[in-house]
Symmetry: C2
Subunit: 336 residues, 2 copies
DNA sequence: CTGTTAGCGCGTTCAA
DNA sequence: TTGAACGCGCTAACAG
C-alpha cells in the first residue's frame, strides 16, 4: 500500500513553468512577480509569461503564505445565528472596502456543534479575524498569540465597549424612544430561537437599564415565534396584565412584524393599542401597513470602519476612533 | 534596509516545542498527531504535550496545507448581490452538514469591482468551490485545472440544468400558479438593483416561457424600488393598460411586498385588484396582511444536498441525484 | 522499543 | 540568470 496519494490532481507548479520554458524557478518567480532591480531579458520574460499562461499556472496559496508569513485573508467569524439583513449589509461593505486594499474577506458561521474552533486555524490562515461574538476573550487571546490580529466589531462603538454593550445600547434606544412618546409600561418580545440569545439578552438588559434610568417599571418579556398565533398569545398576555402595557420593544423587525400580526388578528392596531419598535430596518418593515418604527444599527458604517481598522492594524498602526453610538438611530415610522 | 520583516509576531513552531521539550521535531509531530505504530514513551508524550500547551503551539495552516496538498476548506462563492434570506438558509445548512464531515465552509461575496477572481486561489486554497453564479463556465474550468472541485448548486435541480434553468423554473412556477387561479394577463415586477440581474433575467424568461406554453400573452415588466412610491408607479402603469392585467409575478418577496404597498397606497387590495406572488418565503411575507403567496425555492434541501455532493466528489465518488424540481414549491397564502 | 535523520512540498530570495 | 537555502509540518526509513 503506497503512501496515501500525496496529490491526485496535477497542480501546475512554478517548477513546471520553469521546466517548460527552459529557465530556473528563480527566474519564473522574478518574472511573475515583476521583481525590481533584476535584469531579465524581454525575450525570457515573454517566454515565461506565455508558458505560465498556457499551463494555467496559479501560485499555490499555502506555499506563498508559508514563505511570506502573511496571508491576504481576513476571516469574519460569527456564531451560529441566522445571517440576518444587518449582518449581510455589514459583510457587503466590509468585503468591498477590504478588496480595495488587496484583502479578501471570507465569512464563516461557526456552529457550536462543529469541531472546536481552534481547528479553523488549521484550515484557514487568516491575517486577521473579525470576531463577531464567536470567540470568547480567552479564545481570542489564544488566536492573537499565533500572530493573528483579532478585532471585535462592537468595540468600535461606545469607545471600547463590549459586544454586549453595543447590543445593550440598542435596547436602551428602543426604550428611550417609546418613553419619549409617552409610553410608561413596556413589554419586550423575545425571539424563540436560542441561537439569538447572545443578541437578545443584552438588548433586553439595555431595555431594563433604560427603564430603570427613566423611572419606568421593568419591561414584561414574552417569547414569540414568527407567526401570528404565537405572537397572538404574547399580545393577549400583555393585554391581560393590570399594569396596562402600551409599548412593545421587539427583539428585531421580524419579531416586531410578528407582534403586529398578532395584534391584527385580535383587532388591535399600532400605535393605538400597542406601540411597537423593532431593530434592523429591514426592507419589509418600510413596506407594511402600518410601517414599522425601528432602530437602525449602523451596520454599513460599521463595515467601512472595520475595514479601515483591519488595514491599519495590519500595518501596525492604531485603529481610528469608531463611529460612536450615534450610528444607532431610530427610524420613526407609523408604529410608535 | 532589511527584508520587509518576515515575521513580526513570533509564531510558535513545532521546532520550538521540540527544543523546549528536548526532543526532535519528528517526535513532536508524532506525539501531536497521535501517530499510529510509533512507540513513544508516556513520559515523552506528556512532556511534549505539556510543552505544546504551555507555549500555546498551533500548527501553521499554510505549512500543513503545503505538505498535505489538501485543505479542509470549501469555498462558497457568490457574486455581488445582496445576501438574502434564501442564501442565508442555504449557507446555514451547508455549513452544518459539511462540519460533520470535517470540512469548513467559508463564504465569499465577490464584488465585480475587486481584483480578478483568480487571485482568490492565491489567498485561499479550498478543496472545493461551490460556485453560486460567480464564475463563468470558463473560469470554473480554470479552477478545476488546479485540482479544485467545482460544484454549481443549480445543477442539482432539473437533472443537470444550469443556474439559469433553475431560476427560470421559479418564474415558470409563479405563472403556473397565477394561471391556475384564473389570471390570464400578467405583470412582472423587477428589482431596481442591477446586481440581481443574474437572478431576475432568467426568472422573467421562465415566466415568459410559461406564458407562451399556457397561451397567455407576454408578461408586462416594470422595475420597482423597495418603496411604495416607486412600486406605486408600476401599479399605476399596469392599471392604465388596456390589456387588463390581474396578476403580478414579483422578482422576490421584498419586491412583492413593495407592490402590495404600492397597491395599498392607491386603495387597491390583493388578490381582488391584483394577485401577487413572490419568491423566497421570507418570514415577513407570512406576517403581513394580506399574507403573501410565494414560491419557496428549497434552499434548505439544496444545502444538505450540496454538502453530500461535495463530500462525495472529494472522495472521488459521483454526487447523488439532486432533489429535483419538486423542491420548488408554491406557498399559497392570501395574495393569489 | 524509542527516537532521529533526511527529505518532500512550493514559492521566494540571497549570494554568486 | 541561477543554485542553494529557507519557511514549517509531515512521514518513510533508519539508528541507537
Amino acid at each position: 500500500m503506497p503512501a496515501p496519494e500525496p496529490r491526485e490532481t496535477a497542480r501546475v507548479t512554478s517548477a513546471e513553468v520553469a521546466r517548460h520554458s527552459g529557465v530556473s524557478r528563480t527566474t519564473v518567480s522574478y518574472v511573475l512577480n515583476g521583481a525590481p532591480n533584476q535584469s531579465i531579458s524581454e525575450a525570457t520574460k515573454r517566454r515565461v509569461l506565455d508558458t505560465a499562461e498556457r499551463l494555467g499556472y496559479t501560485p499555490y496559496a499555502a506555499a506563498r503564505a508559508l514563505r511570506s508569513g502573511r496571508s491576504d485573508v481576513v476571516l469574519f467569524l460569527t456564531p451560529e445565528w441566522p445571517i440576518g439583513a444587518a449582518i449581510a449589509r455589514l459583510v457587503e461593505d466590509l468585503t468591498l472596502a477590504l478588496a480595495t486594499a488587496g484583502l479578501t474577506l471570507v465569512m464563516h458561521a461557526h456552529p457550536r456543534s462543529a469541531r472546536p474552533i481552534a481547528d479553523l486555524w488549521k484550515a484557514i490562515n487568516p491575517a486577521a479575524v473579525i470576531n463577531h461574538q464567536a470567540l470568547s476573550e480567552d479564545e481570542a487571546n489564544v488566536v492573537r498569540r499565533s500572530g493573528i490580529t483579532v478585532l471585535t466589531p462592537a468595540f468600535a462603538f461606545a469607545g471600547g465597549g463590549t459586544f454586549a454593550d453595543f447590543q445593550s445600547g440598542i435596547g436602551h434606544r428602543q426604550v428611550e424612544h417609546l418613553a419619549a412618546a409617552g409610553h410608561r409600561r413596556l413589554g419586550f418580545a423575545l425571539p424563540d430561537d436560542d441561537r439569538l440569545a447572545a443578541f437578545a439578552q443584552p438588548r433586553l438588559n439595555g431595555a431594563r437599564q433604560a427603564c430603570a434610568e427613566l423611572g419606568l417599571s421593568e419591561p414584561v418579556t414574552r417569547v414569540t415565534a414568527l407567526n401570528a398565533v404565537s405572537s397572538g398569545r404574547a399580545v393577549a398576555y400583555w393585554r391581560r396584565l393590570k399594569s396596562e402595557i402600551t409599548g412593545i420593544c421587539a427583539y428585531n423587525d421580524e419579531v416586531a412584524l410578528a407582534v403586529l400580526a398578532g395584534m391584527r388578528a385580535q383587532g388591535l392596531n399600532a400605535p393605538g393599542d400597542f406601540a411597537v419598535i423593532g431593530v434592523d430596518d429591514i426592507p419589509a418593515g418600510a413596506l407594511t401597513s402600518p410601517a414599522l418604527t425601528t432602530v437602525a444599527t449602523g451596520m454599513s458604517e460599521l463595515g467601512k470602519y472595520l475595514a479601515i481598522s483591519v488595514i491599519n492594524v495590519l500595518e501596525g498602526a492604531a485603529p481610528p476612533p469608531g463611529p460612536g453610538p450615534e450610528a444607532i438611530q431610530v427610524i420613526s415610522r407609523d408604529t410608535v
